[in-house]
Each structure stands twice: as C-alpha cells, then as structure tokens.
C-alpha cells in the first residue's frame, strides 16, 4: 500500500510559540537582508558610477533611512507629518478596494453558480469572461469614472467598480472550477437522496468549492487594491494613494523619498488585504491555508 506522511507535527500551544518566534526572526532577518542588498547595491553603484541597468544616484536610490525619515516629515511647513496623510489616504483607497472586492467577489460567485448549471451556457459565456481580462480595464478607467459621473455617481464608487472588475474574474473562474469539482460518486449519492439541483448546489458543490474560492480571494485581494489605486489616477481623485503617487511622481526629483514612502504604504495595504483573507480562510476552513506552492 502506497503510504504517505502521517507523522503528527507539533501542534497545539507547545508548538505554536517556537514556530511564531521562528517566523518573526526569519521576517526580521529577511528585512535586514533586503536593507543590506539595497544599501550595498547603492554604495557600489555610486562608487562605480554604474549607469546600467539604471543610473545609481541619490535620487534613484535614496537611503532607506531617508525614506524612513520622510514618514515623519511634514508636507507643508508646520503641518502634520507625511505618515498622517498616508494613513488617511490608505484608509480612503482601502475603502474603495474593499467595496470593489465585495462587489466583485459577489458578482464572480453568482456568475460561477449560474455557469455551473449549464454546459452550453458555459461554452458560450466562459470565453468572454476570459477575454474580459484582456481588455485593459485600467485604460477604460477614465471613461468609467467620467461616464458614471454624469449619471451622478460619486467618483469613489466608480473606482470601486474598477476594483470589482479586476476582482470578479479570478473568483468566477476558481469558484466555477470548485463547483464542478465534486466526484461523480458524490453527486450520485445526493441524487440517491432525491436531492434536487439547488440542494445539490448548496449542500455539495458550494462547500466543496470553498478552498478554490479562498484561493481566488487571495489573488483578488491584491487585484482590488491595484484596481483602486489605478482607478484613482485618471479621475485625479484627491484623497487616495493613487493621487498621491501621481503627485509625488511629479516632484520626484525634489523629494524622491515621498514617492517611495507612498509605494511602501501601497505595498503594505496589499499585504494587509492578503493577510486578512488568509486569516479568514483559516477561520472558515479550520485548517492551515494552502501555501502557494
């Protein structure tokens, strides 16, 4: 009999603390390594006057410490520090992303449910769902914002719509895969209980599809943040991270650290969204979330 690993790992409190500590140490070590690589490359590049692949100077690669300091510097004289603004902008963009995520996930889910019921409809509609992602939505972003604006929709809702557009696709595709994944025998069992189409759907297909759904939600979490950030840029929507990027980009040569600081906040926002889904998955599925590999 072909056997697989059954050795019980150190679960429980006894195992949790050293594991968490190890992970924290690894995280710090990793960040330190990143810092070292950055500063090392910078030092070498300036000394050696490297111009390829890009010119290494103070503007292109500011000191990490300078970026760190920028968080504490006021934007206007006697005004609040940058981190104050970044926090509010992050909340603003985060709200758009969250709304878009919720909307897109709901649409994706129900679309998948609809498609799971008919092979012909699937064959007809699925290609367009795939094609929809080849349309560079971000290029349509200005049109969406302006268009919806004339209908009286506030700009941030339009941004949420763009975020939803990026969210629905992975959710739809993965949920569909999950809904169609039950064994033929599992289906036969339900039918032997005289369970109708909808009972089968809610009692078998949907629970089976949950791991797939979460796998998609993790991708979508990031996608919704991307959608929100980019969606803000054409509308010149003040108050969000997208606008901040465009703005700081204009003044990059004067104060490069500000743009970097903003990008770091964007990165953190994406990671926070991702981690939120990971935690949610752990709660709902009551097992270790599937690592990407």
């Amino acid at each position: 009999m072909s056997a697989f690993v059954v050795e019980p790992s150190k679960r429980g409190i006894a195992g949790a603390l050293p594991r968490a500590a190890a992970r924290a140490v690894l995280l710090v070590a990793g960040l330190a390594l990143l810092w070292g690589v950055w500063e090392g490359y910078r030092w070498l590049g300036i000394r050696g006057h490297w111009t390829w692949p890009f010119e290494v100077n103070d503007t292109n690669m500011p000191h990490i410490s300078k970026i760190w300091h920028a968080f504490g510097q006021p934007l206007q004289p006697d005004g609040p520090p940058l981190r104050h603004y970044l926090w509010h902008w992050a909340i603003f963009t985060g709200k758009e992303a969250l709304a878009g995520f919720a909307l897109g996930a709901a649409i994706g889910f129900f679309l998948a449910v609809a498609l799971s019921q008919s092979k012909v409809v699937r064959r007809g509609v699925l290609p367009y769902i795939v094609v929809s992602q080849t349309v560079p939505i971000l290029a349509i972003a200005p049109m969406v914002v302006v268009g919806l604006g004339t209908k009286g929709v506030t700009p941030w809702v339009s941004v949420a719509v763009i975020a939803a557009y990026l969210t629905f696709f992975p959710v739809a595709i993965n949920t569909l895969r999950g809904l169609l994944s039950p064994d033929p025998e599992a289906l036969e069992l339900m039918r032997s209980y005289a369970a109708g189409r909808w009972k089968i759907l809610w009692r078998l297909r949907v629970p089976t599809s949950l791991p797939y759904v979460f796998s998609a939600l993790k991708i979508s979490a990031t996608a919704s943040v991307i959608g929100a950030i980019i969606g803000e840029t054409p509308a010149s929507l003040q108050g969000g991270l997208g606008y901040a990027i465009v703005n700081f980009n204009q003044y990059y040569s004067i104060q490069p650290a500000n743009l970097w600081a903003t990008i770091i906040v964007c990165a953190l926002l994406g990671i926070v969204f991702f981690l939120a889904i990971v935690v949610l998955e752990r709660l709902v599925l009551k097992r270790a979330p599937e690592n990407f590999a």
Partner: protein
Amino acid sequence: MSTIVQPAPRSVGRRVGRTALDWIPALAVFVLGIAAWQGLIAAFHIQEFLLPKPTSIAQAFWAQKSALWSQGIYTFKEALGGYALGCGLGILVALLFAAWRVLSSAFMPYAVAANAIPIIAFAPIMNNWFGLLNPFSKMAIAAVLCFFPVMINTLRGLTSVHPSSIELMRSYAAGRVSLFRRVRIPNALPYMFTGLKIATVLSMIGAIVGEYFGGPTEALGVKILNDSSYGNFTDAWAGIVMASLLGIVFYAVVALAERLTTSWHPSARAFHTE
C-alpha cells in the same frame, strides 16, 4: 482506472480542429452580445461619448487601422520583452527552489508577500529609473507581473511528483539530476503552461498600464489615455479593441504551444469545465 484501449493519437490537425464545434455557443453569444449592445444604445439613447455603438467603434478602428497597428505592435513588443524576461526568471527560480528546498522554505513567504504588493505602484519608479520614453521601463513592470504566476505554477508542477515515482528512481540509483530531467521537468510542463497563459494577459496589462504613467506617443496605452482625456471615447475604444485583440492572439499562441507540447497530458485543457 480501467479505460478501454484507444487507438494511438491522431494527427495534430485533427487534435486542434476537434474543438471547432465547441466554439459555436461562444460565437452565438458574441453575435447576440454585439447586437444587444447596438440595440440598447439606440433604445436608451445612450450618449455616444459614454458608450459608443459597436458600429462606430468598428468604423473608428478601420479608419485608424495602420496607426493602431503600429502603436499596438510597439506596446506588444514591450509586453513580449517583459514576458520573456519575467517568465524566464520565473522558470529559473522555480527550478532553483525545487532543487534546493531550503531556498524554497526560506524565500516562499517573501514571494507570497511580494505577490500581494500592487506592482503597478512601482510604475513611476521604473519610469524614473529607465526613462519615460524607454520601452524597458514598461518591460520591467510586465516582467515583474509575469514572474510570480509562472514561478509559482512551475514550482508546483516540479514538486507535485508522486512519492512512488521518487522511490522508483531511487530504486534505479538515479541521481538528482536524472530525477529532475526525466521526472520533475516533464511533469511540470502542464503547470508551467498554466502560468505562461496567465502571464500573457498580465504582460499586456503591465505594458499598457505602465504607459499610463507616461510614455511615448507611439505607444498604444498612451494613445488610449490621450483619447480618453480629450473625450474621444470612440477612438479610445478602438484602441482598447486593438489591445484586446493582441492579448487574445498572444494567449492563443501560447495555448497552441501548450496543446502541441503537452498533448500527452490527458487533461490538456487548463482546467475542467466539462
């Protein structure tokens, strides 16, 4: 598994053509969709500038076709360059991670975290580093976008080998290199192609959105953006159609390559929808 013995595989043409009939529903939806679009605009008097009629878009497309083509190719080259770079690195790193699991467990959390970062936010930095007008700044974005799906999928394929298979190779006293060459790599091909297909779409998006933050006028993304800002939505849509077409063709080419090289894989499709 006890399937009836089937005859040996047919020719390439047959294998690809077999699915032609499957496309009829999709074709029907396309025709219906376009007709509905046209009809709804007329019925609800939707202003041209909000959502142009398909016929207007088609006209605009045809009128500008040579300009659209050269702009499209310009952007496509950026996407292609980024694709080659990102996928190449992704496959390389996957091979390294599969060969030395230590690397994998050490770096995987970072890869996962990095994947959660909105890469697009780095577009302005790339423009600053490599120059607004330099196509490489857009290639870099496309490359980063392609890297993760390819790396993650290829790694999964390299490592999802049946334990008995490893035992078999051990029984032959086969070394690690042999194991890689003869088992892990062929096993990984279908997974790799899944990643490569995803990456085609991402590379186009990366190139276009990269141009969004600034680029030369001969780029498609810049043209779309300019048309939008001046309110020429019909022209912008024509540009979007071009971008879409290029993305679809790119995807189809890779899908074809997949079918030709992994025809041995019983489920040659990316995933089961039937």
